[in-house]
Symmetry: C2
Subunit: 236 residues, 2 copies
């Protein structure tokens, strides 16, 4: 049996940061194996975490493509996007896309820290007071700022965030909208970001992505991932 | 007067994330202007923050090189490193370097959040209790994990973190050690990371960097940047 082109190493059972990678692989129609969801996959991820895949990877997602190994979501999606015609072709566009992808990654980090403001090594229930405070700041200050940034970028660039066609950054923006609608539905409903929502709809309608989203490969959101629904963090 | 090759947009008065970019520019001997430290520089940074430099930049540092504009520290240092022989030449090495640089950027984010765990829009003094909690987790769990990762990578790769020569990632590792020795001197002294400290010394001895570090272009650490010395967050 021939080796798959790509091996994705990510926790099973959650969308998490791995979902940004899955979306690119799926939209590209790439040949990949989601290692964490194979029999014995958890052991392979634990081994990779110890550095056995490569010493320089720290936390999933990891991607292996033959002798190439890389980690960090925005790095992986850039790599895949540039190989699969899901990135601008020119240097200025590629740098813009990389900039936006990393800014979206910062937003994802801030979403994570709404429920884990004190310690990633402890459960939400032990840091609820700080989570309530951090979520308030997120809803009132950070979310409008990030969404305003994406809206401004779309207003300047047109239908897509970078370049003249869909790229890995647009897929990331789709995931942001989906995640925010799950985790912060009330706060998100108050935002003014019609261009971002329209972009989300354009991405969702892409044939390979639509098929993926309707499949059981697309996991539902839950309270183990990045985007979590804790009603007390998102009051009406 | 000819235009400089590079314009760096960053807050004046702090090392902050901009310092990771300055270290690469200085080690490369590149022709650059530190816009924030020029007369009227603050206005140019505020204009850039509003999207007037490019709509897709969100927070400093920003870099302009002719028609190319980019943001995000690890993105900028990768771009400069690959142009100035401060990055591995092969794709596997470049992806490893990019991975490590982004992991160091995550460490920098976590250092920042030790003093701002609740809100980046408010002062440390209003979030001291949460900061004390987050700092404890940082000292006990996260710092050893990140430093162990860098130590493991050096043990596997040799004198440098990626490839066979100094790269932008090694300069970032230097800055991490300097910052931790300032902000978390007691916690850092308890860590076992001899290879990382030796790397810091190799980087500091590079002639252009040594000249930079001895110049007044190298700002001192202070309590406005990322690495801040709050003794209550770093008990003996």
């Amino acid at each position: 049996m021939p080796s798959p082109t790509y091996e994705l190493y990510y926790w099973p059972g959650i969308q998490g940061r791995g979902e940004f990678v899955r979306l690119v692989l799926e939209d590209a129609g790439a040949d990949y194996v989601d290692i964490g969801r194979q029999p014995g996959g958890d052991k392979r991820i634990m081994a990779a975490l110890k550095g056995e895949l490569a010493p320089f990877v720290f936390a999933p997602p990891f991607l292996r493509c033959g002798d190439l190994i890389l980690a960090q979501t925005a790095n992986i999606t850039r790599f895949l996007g540039e190989r699969h015609d899901l990135a601008p072709a020119d240097e200025a566009g590629r740098l813009a896309a990389a900039t936006i992808a990393l800014t979206i990654a910062d937003l994802v980090d801030e979403v994570h820290d709404t429920h884990h403001p004190i310690s990633v090594a402890d459960v939400y229930e032990h840091q609820r007071d700080a989570a309530a405070q951090r979520s308030r700041t997120f809803r009132d200050k950070r979310l409008p700022r990030f969404l305003g940034y994406l809206e401004r970028t779309l207003a300047a660039n047109g239908d897509w965030l970078a370049g003249t066609a869909a790229s890995y950054v647009d897929l990331a923006a789709f995931q942001i909208v989906e995640g925010l609608r799950y985790a912060f539905r009330h706060a998100f409903a108050k935002q003014q970001c019609p261009k971002l929502v329209a972009l989300r709809d354009r991405v969702a309608a892409r044939p390979r992505l639509a098929a993926y989203l309707a499949s059981d490969r697309r996991l539902p959101f839950n309270e183990h991932g990045i985007f979590r629904r804790y009603p007390e963090l998102d009051p009406e």
